[in-house]
Symmetry: C2
Subunit: 198 residues, 2 copies
DNA sequence: GATTAAGTCAACCCGTTGGATGAAAACCGT
DNA sequence: ACGGTTTTCATCCAACGGGTTGACTTAATC
């Protein structure tokens, strides 16, 4: 019964990989919900269902855990790029990430200004796409592509960054898939109007 | 020399009003910079140049001070409304508030979800204005006025809520008057395109 | 000027938080 | 089986942060 190569045997009493993953997941949720400063390491450990000392063991403390998250999501952001999709699709997927723990974390770190929250290459690529769309006439050419991207990203992130205001305006909970879908549809309409086609 | 009615004599050794004001100002700056949880009462007192105990004396503690700020800015927000200005002017002034301590505080509380950050009446008024603009043909009529307002507010708040990303995209510091002006101009162009007129 | 109240401050208190210590438990190769 | 290593845990500790206490100072009132 040599099962030394049983990959991540689901019922192991000891599993460093699983523990690390549990902690990262729990940390993303906690940090995303309350922000770095308000998050207690005890809560992270409790959510992960492991001893809190393991945070120090695996990540060298609270800050190390946070930084690990900050870098880890950069890779995932690159996936989101999905090359050159239509603008409304990009916006829609961006609205979707708004609901994730990583999205909330991104918003916090953006405000706090601790770690560069977005992959530089990703942003550059998106700006280029904007330029292309302007060249194709899909978007007004007299706008600065960077600032246009910024405005659209900010608008797409509204359910997250302006969570409370969104709730006050609409009376609904912006943190639901239904809201995200509805909102993304509105944004799609909006950019359509930008292109000149009504 | 009866000067008991000397109003807020500027050179008094003791002046409750001034002290309260100093604390409120310092608190807005500190809370705005780091958020509630990361802010230390010691720092607030130091910035105000007074003893930290006075926070308890005048506001009943850190939380009381925070709440005082939260309610105080509601009144100032109402002023910003300025009745029915053109949309680009409204957006521009909104971008401007982005640079203030109160603006930063507003962003934090929006993320944290602690206190309703915006005056309900103000929002209602703005939504109504949106509806009017749609009726006048200044804005597309097939968009939900509330969600449109939300998107525009979020876009206007980008230099604040997406401070880091904005910096990454443009290479400039979004927290400057110059940037705000430039960005507001772009937003004005953008909404002009929305109205159909290029 | 004496008495009283309001404002300010330095020092201490105590719960909380993140991290450290050392031991126990599970895994590994032999 | 068994010794060594890695992973996990219960307990403890020092630093920090917000709040309180009580004394001192200034201003108002008599």
């Amino acid at each position: 019964m040599d099962q030394r190569r049983s990959p991540t045997a689901s019922e192991r009493k000891r599993d460093p990989e699983r523990t690390r993953a549990l902690l990262l997941e729990a940390a993303a949720a906690e940090f995303g919900a309350k922000g770095y400063a308000a998050t207690r390491t005890t809560d992270i450990a409790a959510r992960a269902g492991v001893n809190k000392q393991l945070i120090s063991y695996y990540f060298g403390g609270k800050e190390g855990l946070y930084k690990e998250l900050a870098t880890s999501w950069h890779s995932s952001a690159a996936e989101m790029a999905h090359e050159d999709q239509p603008l409304d699709v990009v916006l829609s997927s961006f609205v979707a990430t708004t609901l994730t723990d990583h999205g909330r974390l991104w918003a916090w770190s953006n405000l706090a200004g601790d770690s560069p929250p977005t992959d530089e290459a990703f942003l550059r690529g998106q700006v280029d796409q904007m330029r292309e769309r302007q060249a194709k006439g899909e978007l007004p050419a007299d706008l600065d592509p960077g600032l246009l991207l910024l405005a659209l990203m900010a608008a797409a992130a509204a359910p997250l960054t302006l969570r409370q205001t969104a709730s006050q305006i609409t009376g609904e909970d912006p943190a639901t898939p239904e809201f995200a879908e509805k909102y993304a549809a509105q944004l799609a309409l909006l950019v359509r109007h930008l292109s000149g086609r009504s």
